[in-house]
Symmetry: C2
Subunit: 236 residues, 2 copies
DNA sequence: AAATGACCAAATAGTCTCATCCAGTCAAAC
DNA sequence: GTTTGACTGGATGAGACTATTTGGTCATTT
């Protein structure tokens, strides 16, 4: 019953198909959870045969990894799009983007309803949220321009803790008390600002440099994420 | 084989016994987890007969609830003992005390290794950490004395998020990056300070009033917690 | 009155068998 | 060369039954 296909080998077409498959995975995983999402379901929903999926990824897990990488790219691109100009804006937008991506939220909070048996492997999953060494470079730049205190504090940990706390504490609060996602993002930004900034207003030149450094950092991050995603989608 | 006992009815002795039993529960639960800790184990370790435990609590769960209430009393008393004089010191000490009480940490982080099937019921468990309405009164006092900003921010949520983030993010970080408990407590204090204080130094009179309000708040909290604990230990 | 521990029902853990499911393969269709 | 979907086998789950454990009771002892 196989209807064939042999449009010679259009890489663009293949890529589009990979994305269609990932769309299906995302939808099904969010609806039914990872454990209950079968390759057959995915194939049906994406309108391809099961074997086709294995032309893209060697295993089910690799397919899912690709989905997460794509989520990361989309999230970081969304942050970049908002053009944050300071550290606090950066993390406010980071929080906002994260809140808007249920799959990433599920991974970060190890939501076993959605991730099923995947939620054990915290090691790999959380690596999604490692900001990478370019963050250190970025922070060094901020310090140089007097945009943040130069405490011996571990910036990464401080900022991560703040984001993490705001994102997940509300789940344990009385339902009425839960602020909107936008409000949470704003609170993250404010808290990061107050905690890490020097308080002194920045000279225009420095502010400009900081804004550029922020965008540079994001560009780098997005690009790295995109490269990883590309590897997950093609060749493999 | 029952060796009797009938020292008319010494309430102090009974109380001491209740505590001995809770000591046993605490030790066993931390070592083996809630699911694997049996009433027989507890009785053996506490040196009483199984039936005796049921003279104190109607069910296993009530016994465990009593243990948690006692933990809360001990924790809040530890905070009170350090005599924090500001909001940020208060929460720094709160974090420090929490970090020093593995059982409360387990409850707050819903650690299923330790809590077993108990970790489902987040509702009740997390209520341990509701600060209560006296906190609102306390914050109002702080605002009045100019010790904190009067943003429309939900103070409770802001502060809780910060504490929560610092306490639990480190679990997901590379092991080497994890700061000591003391360092975490300090970071909590600093972050709360920077986030919620006005920045202006306080007149001595106000500082004094704030310090007193802080201790008052703690006294109230400890007393309420003690009253709840007392109910859990005797009558029932 | 106070404390005990033998006792019991109910829950849980273990065992074996049989049915179902589904990730991954590959010969066939285009 | 590219795509397909029937096929397979290892894993997973359902079912039925037995063995063990354990929360909670209460007649008995002091």
């Amino acid at each position: 019953m196989a209807r064939a296909g042999r449009p010679p080998q259009d890489p663009a077409r293949q890529l589009e198909r990979a994305h269609r498959i990932l769309d299906a995975v995302a939808e099904l995983v969010l609806r039914w959870g990872y454990d209950k999402t079968t390759i057959d379901d995915v194939a049906r929903r994406a309108g391809v045969a099961k074997g086709t999926i294995y032309l893209h990824w060697k295993t089910r897990d690799e397919m899912f990894a690709a989905l997460l990488r794509r989520e990361r790219v989309l999230m970081m691109a969304a942050v970049r799009e908002r053009e944050p100009a300071t550290l606090s804006e950066l993390f406010g937008e980071y929080a906002r983007a994260l809140l808007g991506r249920p799959l990433l939220r599920a991974v970060l909070s190890a939501d076993s309803e959605i991730l099923g048996k995947l939620s054990r492997r915290k090691k790999e999953s959380t690596s999604q949220f490692q900001l990478g060494e370019s963050f250190d470079t970025y922070v060094a730049e901020l310090v140089k321009h007097g945009a943040v205190r130069d405490d011996p504090d571990d910036y990464l940990m401080v900022v991560s803790s703040i984001v993490y706390g705001y994102l997940f504490l509300p789940d344990g609060l009385p339902p009425g008390a839960k602020p909107s996602d936008d409000r949470i993002a704003d609170l993250v930004a404010v808290t990061v600002e107050r905690t890490l900034s020097t308080g002194r207003p920045l000279p225009a030149a420095d502010a400009e440099a900081v804004a550029r450094a922020t965008l540079d950092f994001l560009d780098t991050t997005v690009e790295i994420a995109q490269r990883k995603l590309a590897l997950s989608l093609e060749g493999k």
